[in-house]
Symmetry: C2
Subunit: 158 residues, 2 copies
C-alpha cells in the first residue's frame, strides 16, 4: 500500500502533522481491524463479543476473590473499547451458549457472567488464527519497531 499522502489523493498536504498522525492512526486501525472482523464473523462473533469472551476466560483461569464469574460493570471496565450496551451483548453470548449469567447473592443488583465450556472451546479454536493474524498485521514492522510503536501509542494515550 502506498503512503497516506498518495492514498487519499489529496492534492494539497495535511493541515498539520497531528492531523496526519490522526488520519494515519485511523487508516492503520481500519486496515488491521478488517481481517479480525472477518475471522470473528465466521464464528458468529464481533470484536466486542470476542473481547468479552477473552475477559471472561481470563477471569476463569485466574479467579478473583474466589469468583470465576465477573460482574457486568467489571467487564465494561476491562474492555478495549467502551460498550454502552453490555446487557444485550451478553444476551447474544448467552443465546449462543457461550456464556451464562447468575445473580450474585451478596448483592442482588449485580449479575455475574461466566464463560461456558462451549465458550472456552470456541476461544481455543480461535487462538491459533488470532495469534497468526496479530503477527500478520504487524508483519511490516521489525520487533524493535513494534516495541517502539507500543511506546509511542502508550505515551500518546494520555
Amino acid at each position: 500500500m502506498p503512503a497516506l499522502k498518495t492514498d487519499i489523493k489529496k492534492k494539497h498536504g495535511f493541515d498539520s502533522p497531528e492531523q496526519e498522525a490522526w488520519l494515519n492512526l485511523a487508516r492503520t486501525h481500519a486496515a488491521m481491524t478488517g481481517p479480525f472482523v472477518t475471522l470473528f464473523k465466521q464464528h458468529g462473533l464481533t470484536p466486542a463479543s470476542y473481547n468479552v469472551l477473552r475477559i471472561l476466560r481470563g477471569v476463569r483461569q485466574y479467579p478473583e476473590r474466589g469468583h470465576e464469574a465477573l460482574p457486568c460493570a467489571e467487564i465494561v471496565e476491562r474492555m478495549v473499547t467502551r460498550v454502552p450496551d453490555l446487557t444485550r451483548l451478553i444476551d447474544r453470548l448467552v443465546e449462543k451458549g457461550l456464556a451464562e449469567r447468575k445473580r450474585a447473592e451478596e448483592d442482588r443488583r449485580v449479575v455475574r457472567v461466566r464463560i461456558t465450556r462451549r465458550g472456552s472451546s470456541l476461544l481455543k479454536k480461535l487462538d491459533g488464527p488470532v495469534a497468526q493474524l496479530h503477527r500478520r498485521v504487524m508483519s511490516g514492522l521489525s520487533v524493535a519497531e513494534v516495541s517502539h510503536l507500543n511506546r509511542l501509542l502508550e505515551k500518546a494515550r494520555i
Copy 2:
C-alpha cells in the same frame, strides 16, 4: 492514563508483542476517536459523514477535470474507512441540505455528489474545533514523536 498493562487489569502479560501492539492501537484509536465522535454528533454528523464532506470540499476547491462534483465510487475510494453503504450516507447529507446529487450526463449510471453552501459553512464552523482536537489528542507526543509515529504507522500498513 496508566500504561496498557495495568489498564486492562490482566494479571499475566500479553501473548506477544504484536498482540500488545494491536491492543494498544485499538485502545489509542478508541480514546482518540471519542472526542471527535462527540464533536461531530453535536452537529448531526458521524465520523464517516464528516469524512465525506471533507472529501467533497476538497474536490470543490480543487475540481478534477472541470468537475466539482464527485462520483460515489470515487468518494468511497478516498474515505478513511471503508463504507459499504454510501448511498444512504449521502441520503442523510442530502436530507440535511449539506450535499446534493446530480446524475452525470456522460454516463447515466454515475451519480455525482457536490457539497452545498450549507455543507461548506458547517465544515468551516468545524475547522477550528477539529484542528484543536487534532492537537489535543496528540498532545502527549512531541513533534518528533508525532512524525516518528507517522512513519511507523505508514510502514505497518502494508
